[in-house]
Subunit: 109 residues, 2 copies
């Protein structure tokens, strides 16, 4: 045991959970906020910005890249990262749909 039983759930449920997982670390939130703020893609700066080791920062970047929400392009000796607008929009819409107006004015029980 220890591994998530993804087969018990719908693809949509697994997808939302995977998206949430990508956001489930403050360093990754900080990276995304930094990328949104700077718009242009900085990269080595993130190591200074976050205060985490280079290896750790690179690992978080990899996770965000695997999730699709950011993309990196080789720019000479360094790599330029930026938000993937298409996937960003997908995240936004999926979370919006999940939290969409529900009849929640009354507390049951």
């Amino acid at each position: 045991m220890g591994a998530t039983k993804t087969d018990l759930f719908t693809q949509q449920q697994n997808e939302i959970a995977a998206m949430a997982k990508a956001l489930a670390h403050p360093a990754r939130i900080a990276i995304l906020q930094y990328l949104v703020k700077k718009n242009a893609c900085v990269c080595g700066d993130l190591v200074d910005e976050l205060g985490l080791a280079q290896a750790t920062t690179s690992q978080h970047l990899k996770e965000l890249k695997t999730a699709g929400i950011i993309q990196g392009t080789i720019e000479g000796v360094s790599v330029c990262y930026c938000i993937n607008p298409k996937v960003w929009k997908q995240y936004k819409e999926l979370f919006n749909a999940f939290f969409k107006e529900v009849d929640l004015q009354q507390t049951c029980c």
Copy 2:
């Protein structure tokens, strides 16, 4: 090592990450969707609904309760769970704010 270095990040960043973490498992997404759908709070049903062991289901419920997004009330021999509308709204607003319209039409790099 192994533990998240929360002190490196802002309270807001840690908060968003914590919220995302609560949603970062398909079983918890399934529980929330079920609660939203049924509105009225069912509970023992969740074990059948999810296909996970009773202990595991209870553990996921506990995490959602700790995150504040659901609440449980003792109802005779069983416990009635439901969405906490106030916290649900907070989640919704925080994610909305995070994903709010950003100038993302062009891909940099």
